[in-house]
Point group: C2
Chain length 602, copies 2
């Protein structure tokens, strides 16, 4: 098997309790790389995309990339793939920490779950030893309790755990998978699919380390790329210093920090909840890095309430902060901790609560529906915590919140108040402030998402070059390149943050040296394009209409009320036709037979 | 030794590391009963009242009453006495839980600490075995950590711990002593005196139970009084159902629920933070009782943030709630938990933060003094938590907050904004709404306090009979009787809450049966009057001027702005001269020689 691949895929049939190992073909590996690419390929091959996400027909895949578990900088990523119960489309959620590297060290590129267990189970992996074990005693526990109990149970503290909390068990469509207690494969409700399968956790311990064909060449490249990352102002200074929360002030000053359910892009209390505030108020205790990471952007925090954990990241802090109008950094951080324990995606959970707040304040959500819960006013610290818990347990109004903002807003007759694309909640950049980023939202294969084409980088941060955020010109091409490159990075098993510093050549160097496949930049980028098109095919087959390549009406029709982007709306119609064109798709958004053929997809 | 007394007083000289036992005289016991009375007598005998509260000359006394540790209903109280660093006057703070009963079971009526240790120590008591042990390893720990570590260290989970947290160590003038993790000898800064002595904790285990001279008679009385408590609507239903927080709605509806530092007596968000809300929101998990208590008013709570603890009680919930304008029951409960862990008096801490909020909002406390802390606006959940922690560690503005509201308000040039009497913060009843209760505040020997003469009972609750709260007529006599009876109850070792149901005869029955002293009601009540006058003597000797028998200017001059008491001020001048008269004091507030002679104090 080539280089740093483990060369083994674990197939676990939960219905039958059967575990098998299979060897992936070299051709498939070279064509789909690993991680997101390889997982998508398996998903495509294994399932009918029209299947119900909660049915046994929906596989759940844990995938590593060829660089996962290697000393390559940030080489600790893994992904969870399935059909999303939130969007009904393909889901691929990426996570860091140390679980992914451990899975690779145990000897597996992927674990593919099929079917559905009758009673709760967990998967125990210790190198070659793989067992499904009863998890009745873990059902109902939160992710921290589950992790502690499992490590105690197996008697090996070096093992790594990925699991779901109550939210996943209760099929909350915003449920995530949590590994290493604080890291999340967050988006698209992958945790709910795990819950539907009655799979509580995977605990893994591995003792093998992947080896590159020429260790010397690989290590030389690694040292070189480490140097690049260290010298880069974002990966070498900004992220290590303030973590992702370096962004609060920048994005707010640029007027695209979505506030009170995207009613505006300026939050006048940003200074109270920013990354700087987290440091100055003394809540940040230290930084922490994922496996093999030189950036170490994770925040280890402790609050005056004595709560300890990691976070908030920029997105989480924003979703529960500005988006809910809350300027209380303690409550925001507690909400983040709570999401991690309950197994909820912070972005979707926070934005769904923000949506409920707007529905309540506008009088569409009647007071009696709150039951004994606190009033759902923007700015309420208690509300964000109370309804987060209610959501995870589907208690009272929480049962509606658990369905996500689109189903919630629909239930109250105002779907336009759901700030989502394809049913997935938008992240922390008001698209009216960055046209290219907006196009990225509208065309993302997993719905509202900032890590499929992070155009904020050129449009706001000026990396690799500064683009005018309000110009639509050429943005389609930028979005395509970012989407394809991101698909590559997610497949390799590296963290997207490396892309602030590394070039396509850098990724090619590492990937080729690790696998022994002698990629050119072109071949590698074609892999990215192939993956993107495969995801698109999955979605179309699942029933997605290309008319869903759009944004909430507010983004297209309500001018930004204040700040640097005052008056702006997203001019999607100026970009979308061009995007279809540069993608080689027809004007209705369908990949052309020629394009599919060129990519080996037809 | 008579009856349920242990017959032994432990004297611990911290300077010399010397431990001695002494036998109290029967005459002194009969004259001062125990607890508050006996402790005050020792304090009076042992110290020069002008001594600095933080000097080794200030003794620190842990006192039980004759009924402490017996099966008498609520027989679990103990008191902590010393000269207060907050008021400069006599301090006697009462607590429940199980520590007091354990101390009695170990064979001690009181523990009297003198001097000051050079290095941190704790006192270990296991029946006759008594040792001072090093506590360097406990210094800096909070009260929960200290308790857990001590129980582990001595290897006996049945032992009971009373200790201080960081607030006491740092001589915060609002520091309390915490026992059994959640119970507080809360007021007047007794924890700071313990900290000044470098006494971190007392851990006690006792195996002896006090015995009444005629067990049958005693048990018959106990059964009879239990029946009375069970049938009473307050002790048999109101307090068991909602705990002390049964009061929020009642006091708010009556318009004396002090809001935003006593700027008004109506809080429009009471329904969000009331005892009912605590139940309905699901934060209340169950009730818990102190030693031998049939009322079980303690609240065991758990928040969506996963924090667990006890509380909030009515006073604590109000101090951090309405008084700070906060309607977030999670933050309020977290603040309560935090005070317990840090060892802070919730009333004084909350009211001091409320004072800072008014100073800030009025522009007297400049923004730069906040440092990196959140803005001190009324209603801020983050502010109450942030500044509570800052106070305990004396960080930034916390150093000024740690001095209490009067010193804080003085430092900013506006002492009139401190809602305190004799330097101690007022509790949760706006005195403009109950004239008799107001007189109780003005004349309390320990400054602002509701449990020296709880006139709320007749004036608002109608127990034992309904008095017009806005009438001043006859209130002086009521206050005197309540003050004397409370001194008796505190000395006996029972909980003041029994007085909603029990009569003076009931207390006499229990006290006489327990001790074998054949008290008449008159003799017993004279003990109460004696204790009150002794405390007064201590205060006058300490330098208190009777002009301090007053209230904040706001209470006397600013008419209540709204609600049932709209327009009311406290008409103290209509009551104070009469109070001095019924006390047998001269018109300047000095006890007359005749009165002192009659009480055996001259």
């Amino acid at each position: 098997m080539p280089g740093t691949y483990a060369g083994c895929i674990l197939r676990v049939n939960l219905t039958e309790g059967r575990i098998e190992k299979e060897r992936p073909s070299e051709e498939v590996l070279r064509t789909y790389i690993g991680g997101r690419g390889l997982g998508s390929y398996y998903l495509w091959r294994m399932m009918d995309p029209t299947a119900d996400p909660f049915s046994p027909e929906n596989p759940l895949i844990f995938a590593t990339g060829p660089l996962t578990g290697t000393p390559a900088p940030t080489g600790g990523r893994y992904m969870v793939l399935c059909k999303s119960p939130l969007t009904g489309l393909i889901a691929c959620s990426n996570s860091g920490g140390k679980f992914g590297a451990e899975l690779k060290a145990a000897g597996y590129d992927m674990v593919v779950f099929e079917g559905e267990a009758r009673e709760p189970v967990y998967l125990f992996i210790q190198d070659d030893r793989v067992e499904l074990r009863p998890a009745e005693h873990l059902w109902g526990l939160d992710t921290h309790e589950t992790t502690d109990r499992l490590l105690e149970e197996i008697g090996d503290e070096r093992a790594r755990v990925a699991c779901i909390g109550p939210a996943g068990e209760n099929r909350v469509r915003l449920a995530c998978v949590i590994n290493d207690k604080h890291r999340a494969a967050g988006r698209s409700g992958v945790g709910a699919v795990m819950g539907a399968k009655k799979l509580k956790a995977i605990v893994v311990r591995g003792t093998r380390r992947p080896e590159a064909p020429d260790k010397q060449v690989f290590m030389d490249f690694i040292r070189q790329k480490l140097g690049i990352l260290e010298k880069n102002p974002v990966t070498g200074e900004g992220l290590p210093r303030l973590g992702t929360k370096v962004l609060d002030s920048i994005i707010n000053e640029n007027g695209l920090y979505p506030t009170r359910n995207f009613q505006t892009g300026v939050f006048d209390s940003t200074h109270e909840v920013s990354g700087e505030a987290l440091v100055e108020k003394g809540y940040l205790k230290k930084n922490r890095g994922c496996y093999a990471c030189p950036i170490k952007c994770a925040r280890v925090t402790e609050l005056p309430t004595r709560s300890k954990g990691e976070g908030p990241e920029y997105e989480s802090g924003w979703a529960y902060g500005a988006c809910c109008g809350v300027k209380d950094l303690i409550a925001v951080t507690e909400a983040n901790f709570l999401c991690n324990r309950l197994g909820l995606d912070t972005i979707s959970a926070g934005v769904t609560i923000a949506c409920a707040m707007e529905l309540y304040e506008k009088g569409y959500l009647p007071k009696e529906d709150l039951g004994p819960g606190p009033e759902l006013h923007f700015g309420s610290s208690e509300a964000i915590l109370y309804y987060t818990e209610a959501m995870a347990y589907r208690r009272g109004l929480g049962d509606k919140l658990a369905e996500g903002s689109l189903r919630l807003a629909r239930a109250y007759g105002h779907p336009e108040l759901s700030m989502s694309v394809k049913g997935q909640e938008l992240p922390a950049y008001d698209p009216r402030g960055a046209q290219g980023h907006a196009l990225g939202y509208a065309t993302s294969n997993r719905g509202g998402c900032h890590v499929r084409a992070y155009l904020i980088s050129p449009e706001i941060l000026g990396v690799p070059e500064k683009l005018d955020p309000q110009s639509t010109e050429g943005k389609a091409q930028w979005v395509k390149i970012f989407q394809d490159l991101t698909a590559v990075i997610d497949s390799i098993g590296l963290c997207l943050f490396t892309s602030f510093a590394l070039s396509v050549e850098d990724y090619r160097d590492l990937l080729s040296a690790a696998t022994g496949f002698d990629y050119t930049v072109e071949e590698m980028m074609t892999c990215g394009e192939r993956i993107w098109n495969l995801e698109r095919l999955f979605n179309l087959r699942a029933g997605m209409d290309p008319s869903q390549d759009t944004l909430p009406k507010r983004m297209l029709e309500e001018p930004m009320p204040e700040g640097p982007n005052k008056g702006a709306v997203v001019r999607l119609s100026e970009m979308l036709p061009e995007y279809y064109r540069v993608r080689g798709w027809d004007e209705t958004g369908q990949p052309t037979p020629d394009k599919l053929k060129a990519l080996g997809l037809a």
